[in-house]
């Protein structure tokens, strides 16, 4: 277990700055997930922590010690790669033993550590097999085992489940969560899959264009996204956005005028940053709509697509003004493509973003 601090970390390839002054503090035993779209710099940031890429500027501290100039082996980290990166000519046992042999550990200790890791990962029967004799999930287990035997201060995972099929990804995700509970180790995990991020993380770091857009617990990010990017990125299906203008400022909220939803009252914790007439964006998650196929109250829309998932139904609807919205409805709602429905916004679920895309403080205080 260890702490990790990133202070004003930047990385440039020639004139292109791919990581922009990232600050982050990770506490002992915390599970941090870096999430963001492809090319946002999350893997580069992880590789800089590992010592596989050099930071252009800034400081990396592991357990309080500056590590910028230390090679990977001296940082006390272990890394699990997306491609598993197992040595093809070595057995699972030899793969796990390689780092310990290099650090000249006694044979008995090496064996004990490998057996222990194999027991934790329930892979004792795989130790004599070479990587080509293992399935994808088994290879990933060996890769994780190779990290465990080193007793690292920090575990680094670089999209470790991306090469697995959907079912295996779910089971391996649970295993990693269990592993974190068992080992209580500091873990940094990179993924572009927000379900992995939401289910595994103590805190999520959302990155876009090499910059941190928000750091918080999964529920903080879901219920209080700091900006439009995070609001759109976290949550599946993604949040719906409706453009509007502030028509009226009152105590405890504002009234926003929109094309399709006429005027919408949005409760806010603080209205000091708003001004009448300002362009804003309303945000509402699919479950924040009240959908009716019979009532005349609300905004009329026509059904474009129906996805019945069993426990809920997702409907893609188009308003008269041409706004496409994804709404979540009860499975009992029986609508077909082309039929009309009526949509009402639940004010308690509304998010409001200013012209710069920054969230205005919500009145409701739902957190994780």
């Amino acid at each position: 277990m260890a702490t990790l601090q990133l202070e004003k970390i930047t990385k440039s390839f020639g004139p292109i700055e791919v990581i922009k002054a990232v600050d982050l503090e990770v506490t002992n035993g915390e599970f941090i997930v870096f999430v963001g779209p492809s090319g946002c710099g999350k893997s580069t940031l992880l590789r800089m922590i590992a010592g596989l890429e050099e930071a252009t500027s800034g400081t990396i501290r592991i357990d309080g010690e500056i590590c910028n100039d230390k090679p990977p082996k001296e940082r006390g980290i272990a890394m699990v790669f997306q491609s598993y990166a197992l040595y093809p000519h070595k057995t699972a046992y030899q793969n796990m033993a390689f780092s310990l042999k290099l650090s000249r550990r006694p044979k008995a200790e090496i064996d004990a550590r490998i057996r222990d890791a194999a027991r934790i990962l329930e892979m004792e029967h795989l130790l004599d097999r070479r990587p080509h004799q293992l399935s994808g999930g088994q290879r990933q287990r060996v890769a994780i085992g190779r990290a465990i035997v080193r007793h690292p201060k920090v575990f680094l995972f670089d999209e470790p489940l991306s090469n697995l099929d959907a079912a295996l990804r779910v089971s391996m995700r649970r295993e990693i969560a269990r592993l974190h509970t068992d080992l209580q180790a500091t873990m940094i995990y990179v993924t572009h899959d927000q379900v992995e991020a939401m289910t595994l993380a103590d805190r999520i770091v959302v990155l876009e264009g090499g910059a941190v857009r928000q750091v918080g617990t999964p529920m903080e990010l879901y219920h209080h996204p700091a900006n439009l990017f995070v609001a759109g990125f976290i949550g599946s299906p993604r949040m719906n956005f409706v453009e509007g203008r502030i028509a009226h400022i009152r105590k405890g909220g504002v009234t926003v005028s929109t094309i399709d939803f006429d005027t919408v009252d949005v409760p806010l914790a603080d209205t000091c940053c708003t001004r009448q007439g300002a362009a804003v964006t309303l945000g509402l998650r699919p479950e924040g709509f009240i959908v009716s196929a019979t009532s005349d109250v609300g905004t009329a829309a026509s059904v474009r697509l129906v996805e019945q998932l069993g426990d809920e139904t997702l409907i893609e609807a188009m308003t008269a003004g041409g706004q496409s919205l994804v709404v979540k409805a009860a499975p009992s709602l029986n609508v077909a493509v082309g039929e009309p429905i009526n949509l009402n916004m639940n004010p308690a679920e509304l998010h409001l973003f200013d012209e710069a895309g920054q969230a205005l403080p919500r009145a409701s205080a739902k957190t994780g």
Partner: protein, 285 residues
């Protein structure tokens, strides 16, 4: 049609049969001199000079082989050939692996230009570099010695090219994993990269060994009549001059048969890697 049958494996048919005949014909033509050499070495001196030629010896005998040992110091010559071929091959494997790794996996200024320069040396005919290389070796005090024969060939542009192509195909993650595991760059080359490109290394070893076993002009130039240092290929020349009076073709053929044995045995053992890597060189990197 023919192309498809090659790609998909053996298929009986007219095209396939024709192709088989062509392949057999080419193989027979290529193997005939070797076959003739072995047969002639087993003939009596009279049989080997007969016109029209005798195809098969009436009483095959090994007399010519024992005579080879009388004319030249075969043991010494084989030892010299072995020292030259193995040392040069080992040197080429090491330098090609290291340089190939650097060219394939390191990012440094001028890398591509430097690699192009290395490749360019492959196109220089050996005769062009013979005199400058000889002067260089002489200035280093290595002339008339085995060291002089070996040293200039410890690195080889083709080997570097071959290794670079194969090492480029080794995933970067594998090398990064070894770095995280605490391996030094040398350890990575030896324990991670080398096993990953083992077939290519085997092919290069075969190339290098056969080439330097058979090399004639360079040892002849450097050794300058120091017959103690002669490899078997140079010593065979003495069989030819010895033969001038006796007209004993069998003697020369026996010497040649002996000389060709070590690379032939090596080829039999390594030919699978050889074919794999030459085919692979076209699609990797």
């Amino acid at each position: 049609m023919i192309g498809r049958s090659i790609l998909r494996g053996p298929r009986p048919g007219e095209a396939g049969a024709f192709l088989l005949v062509v392949i057999i014909a080419v193989a027979v033509i290529a193997a005939f001199p070797l076959f003739w050499m072995v047969l002639s070495s087993l003939k009596t001196p009279a049989e080997s000079m007969q016109t029209p030629p005798v195809w098969f010896p009436s009483t095959p005998n090994l007399d010519a082989f024992s005579e080879v040992a009388e004319v030249i110091d075969a043991r010494r010559s084989f030892l010299n050939s072995f020292i030259i071929a193995t040392t040069t091959t080992a040197g080429i494997l090491i330098t090609s692996l290291m340089a190939g790794y650097a060219f394939a996996k390191y990012r440094f200024g001028g890398r591509d230009w430097l690699f192009a320069l290395v490749i360019a040396t492959m196109f220089l005919p050996p005769i062009v570099t013979l005199i400058p290389l000889y002067r260089l070796v002489t200035s280093m005090g290595f002339n008339a010695s085995l060291v002089g024969v070996i040293v200039p060939h410890l690195a080889n542009a083709f080997g570097i090219f071959l290794m670079r192509q194969f090492i480029a195909g080794v995933p970067d993650d594998l090398i990064d994993a070894a770095r995280v595991d605490g391996a030094s760059e040398l350890r990575i080359v030896l324990s991670v990269v080398a096993p990953a490109v083992a077939p290519a290394l085997a092919a290069l070893a075969l190339f290098a060994f056969v080439y330097h076993w058979n090399t004639y002009l360079w040892p002849l130039t450097v050794l300058q009549g120091n017959t103690d240092g002669y490899p078997i290929v140079l010593s065979l020349g003495r069989l030819l001059s010895y033969n001038r009076g006796a007209m004993n073709t069998g003697l020369v053929m026996a010497g040649a048969t002996l000389a060709v044995l070590p690379p032939l045995v090596l080829f039999v053992f390594l030919q699978r890697f050889f074919v794999d890597s030459i085919v692979g060189a076209g699609v990797k990197g």
